[in-house]
Symmetry: D2
Subunit: 357 residues, 4 copies
């Protein structure tokens, strides 16, 4: 904390602020300057409420200095976190998020039925995705929109894992659905709208599965990291972040994809960060260019919506790629990845994993 005094503050006022600080159990460091005095505060274990000081006579401003996050910070853990998922079968290899291989997560916005889900899964698996995404519980803006298949959707995704060996990532929207997602899926997604649903974050922190945390619509970097801190503070250290666009005045895309948050996160935290250009742009024709950009900026992976029949999708059709477009995306992304020293999984063999048992 730093207290900046007004230019005309008297010595008595400076002294009073110092005494107040000391009375609260901290140390005050007075720094008289050419124009005004500033007072540094140290020794604060917990945060000093700035209001106490801000309203004292002669005080211009109180500036917070120390960052409130601990477990997410590189100060605490300098090495990158790599989340490991066991191999799907005996002769398979484990997959990771945060390692040299980019994590490619693909699938439809929502699981609509078994046929649709398998059709998409078959294609994204073949194109090289190691993770399958699909919503069983959908947080929709309207109560009258399709809300997801629930547990039936989770069962379909479990069968997709069985069939193709892909890891399953799906969203939980409350404690009840989180129980089920924890049971069926490989990674629990917390959506943008729930980034500050602290009750849900704590529950995710007690889960035995890794968590994918999406950035809230208007979350600052600090709030984003603090949400991860909530999960980690309950004991779950396997957390990956995901940038999915923020809300701004700009209206040519659904959200404004903030790619600069990727190097910013990597500087402050050891957690991996993915990018979701589907929600980040909301427009099919912008998903591939922004996917290239996300890999070029240094993201640890991509999360992309793919649908076999986007024009009949029950949600987010306009931003879902056709499978052929996803093939092209993977090809371009693979080349960009090589430039930044990352790899993208080779094109999968279409032979189903289940058959190898």
């Amino acid at each position: 904390m730093l207290v900046v005094m007004q230019a005309q503050a008297t010595e008595d006022q400076v002294r009073a602020v110092c005494q107040k600080i000391e009375s609260l159990g901290y140390r005050a460091h007075s720094m008289p300057g050419a124009q005004r005095t500033a007072i540094g505060i140290t020794g604060n274990k917990s945060e000093v409420e700035s209001g106490t000081l801000e309203e004292m006579p002669g005080v211009q401003e109180v500036i917070r200095v120390t960052k409130p996050y601990k477990l997410v910070s590189r100060d605490t853990k300098p090495d990158n976190t790599i989340i490991k998922f066991p191999a799907a079968h005996a002769n398979g290899s484990p997959v990771t998020i945060g390692g040299p291989a980019l994590a490619i997560v693909a699938g439809p916005c929502a699981i609509e039925n078994r046929d649709q889900a398998f059709a998409v899964a078959e294609r994204v698996h073949r194109a090289g995705a190691q993770f399958f995404r699909g919503g069983a519980y959908k947080p929709r803006t309207s109560p009258y929109s399709f809300q997801g298949l629930g547990e039936e959707g989770l069962r379909i995704m479990a069968d997709i894992r069985q069939q193709f060996g892909m890891k399953i990532i799906t969203e939980a929207i409350d404690h009840e659905s989180l129980d089920l997602v924890e049971e069926y899926a490989d990674m629990i997604q917390i959506g943008a709208r729930n980034m500050q649903n602290f009750s849900l974050l704590k529950r995710a922190g007690r889960a035995r599965k890794p968590v994918l945390l999406k950035r809230g619509m208007s979350a600052t970097l600090e709030e984003f990291l603090m949400a991860a801190e909530y999960i980690m503070s309950e004991g779950n250290y396997n957390v990956a972040l995901c940038e999915r666009g923020v809300r701004t005045f700009a209206d040519h895309t659904r959200n404004t994809l903030d790619l600069s948050v990727v190097p910013a996160v990597q500087r402050l935290s050891h957690l991996p960060i993915l990018v979701d250009p589907s929600h980040g742009t909301g427009k099919r024709n912008k998903v591939t260019p922004l996917s290239r950009a996300a890999v070029a900026v240094g993201a640890d992976g991509l999360m992309v919506e793919v649908h076999n029949q986007p024009d009949q999708a029950m949600s987010d059709g306009p931003q879902s790629l056709f499978p052929d477009q996803f093939d092209t995306l993977m090809e371009q992304v693979r080349q960009i990845a090589a430039v930044v020293g990352r790899t993208v999984p080779a094109i999968g063999v279409s032979e189903p994993v289940a058959a190898s048992k």
Copy 2:
């Protein structure tokens, strides 16, 4: 829905779009213009996914026209909703939100202990507040910050109602706390961070108590109304809205209080809307001016944080008023209310309600 064709779109392309529309079960209305053709779509019960059409050859843009909210709309219910709370005791009078009397909600950010809560309650009651606010479950950005007293806090507030006759409004942050809030309080608050926690909204929609819904940090008016629609769609029609500042680039206040949303809500919806200038500004010295402005713009009430010792508050101290400041605020607000044809409760008698039994 309206499909705008490109200037150079061919007649075949226009025809193809019309056929697609009709094949989806809607009616297409072609409107050839000087520069380009637009095609109106009618008959859509559910929403057409715009992506289907947006990607067709010759299409420039697809514009959504119909509003998705129903129950919250003035189209559905032209008269203002007035939420009624029964009188606290036999010779008391009922209080309302949405009627000619402004609803004044005041109290500390968090219930910290019985003494603090009663000290604040005594003062805000005496100044005229009909509603007492206080957090028992606090959604804090940091997991290491004070998270509220939980049920003990609810019990303290129930005793405050008993003592002073004020109605209790307090926040629920998940299903579990909502069960308890529904039991102890008079009105259930859904906080800004949970405005799109649809699972919680649905649960609130099944509650037997009225709901105060705060606007999310970056919620558009439509999203705000749709969140209320979620609650109403489950059968709970007693919903009041609350503007509490939105997130913008501006850094001189904690949030940017958007007072224009008050007349905007009143034009589109029959639901009452309060204003919270404490969170809306985050600075004590701006709470009173913005409270005056909120009443002047036509809000149905105010929600204000008051603390007997703000500099020792466990949360949001810098934005909490001293009780004396709240007295001044009430006096000023009362005069402004008169200008806009509203009333503010007279200064309460300090004689406790409990004694009258």
Copy 3:
């Protein structure tokens, strides 16, 4: 300036930063804390470029402390600035901006022709406006839109001053138009789009007429004050500010009117500040409620668009009030003003000033 070191920074790194600071001619104040060390910098006449220090080993962050504005600051001049305009005629009284009387500025968006201008002027004068606004040079988003009458518009406004005794405020968009505005008008308006047109600000700073400076679409409070500082640094101390809405994600109004900037400006600066609810909302039906709110929050005046035939206006018709609506606005505003200790000019006599000569 304050340099915050990383938690694991070595003593050598701290020493190196201190030496660097001293080598740049400043004093370094090292403050070792429980978790990390912070280093205060004092003695900086000019601003230290933070980049120098930010990239040094062990440095976490560099925080700027001193505010860059001087002449606009209350530190420099504690008393409110009151801009005085001489009385229009012998038995008239002078008008002011920043004094106890609210400054009411009204008129059409653009001067379209003599009849329209006089028709509006007659009505707003009668309703009590002391200032007449009207654009002769219009900064329009499209080059194909009406760009204003130029000098002919200025001449019409000069005749309106002659006829009704109102002071004329009109916008200058470049050096050439500023020369003419300075000649014809009583106050030079710098529009939102030119708030950081520093060449124009300097020219306005050399003008012999007061300046009304509108806030830029996305200007922070500091940038807004620095723009005023540009004008004052050239010697023109008669500057009034004007909040006119900022750009946010919110789409229910054209801009988001930020009324909290009024008390924020008044705390930091001695300059008066008006509010323009016409541009601030962009919607006729929100101008009156937000005008009431602006006066209630403590603004020094209002700037309102009025048109005798808004539906035939050549620009900004949708946000222009009908003259009858302006009468109502003035009546409501007059009552609110009384509550906050301000006055609003009595309803003007329709007898033309010119006749009294």
Copy 4:
């Protein structure tokens, strides 16, 4: 234009709106729907002022449909614009913006003196930049900051062109400086703060040199294109756009670089678009990752700040690259360019161009 009627609008109200439209000289197309009626308007050469209709009884909303830009639009000119600059000397080759070769613009924020400018120029030339940037007229937030060398700076840049054969791009801030920039430089830059300085845009439109137009801090895509339209409407068709970050709530970078605007511009307009990651992030350590991303997303070039001694720069030091960092950037960018089918100029020969004469 489309007029959406309220659900309960009467047939008479619909008829009145249609008659109003026809009376204004347009055609009305009534489209009765299941819930409400919409009315299409065609034949509008100039834009209908929406306010006229918005306030009529029964009207819910008026939606603008046609886009106001013409010359910048791909509708008008389907092929990409390629701006050509003549070769610097007899055996040199011409350089372009918008062609297959990426345009690399590099140099210091401001020209501080001859030595600094030549030192930077020598390095960026050797690394492959075809364009040299440097400010002679600096739009600084504070009037007390370094404002640029003026014409002396232009002369230094002209000598750099002579010496190294690079094209010169520099900013004009008013008519006077534009006259000089037009004389000395190869391309006239209009800065973000002047993007809606329409008087300056018109002057640039009459210049004989190409114009680089930077996006304003909070400019929508439409406003950005309309600013280019201003220049083109005066006859100068050689316009390149430049994304340089927009203002949002996010505080981890100086601005939020909006890379999605690149494909958005390319879809709507034939004009080339560069990206400036230096202003776009404001932080040296983010310039290289975001440069890679900009090329990956499909930008037509980069504009990067490089300084030989960033820690002594007179402006924007913290975001300027060291020359060695620029070398690395160019190497990485060259590889990414290859993936998206673009080329980056080979590393320049250090032999001065002047010597070849």
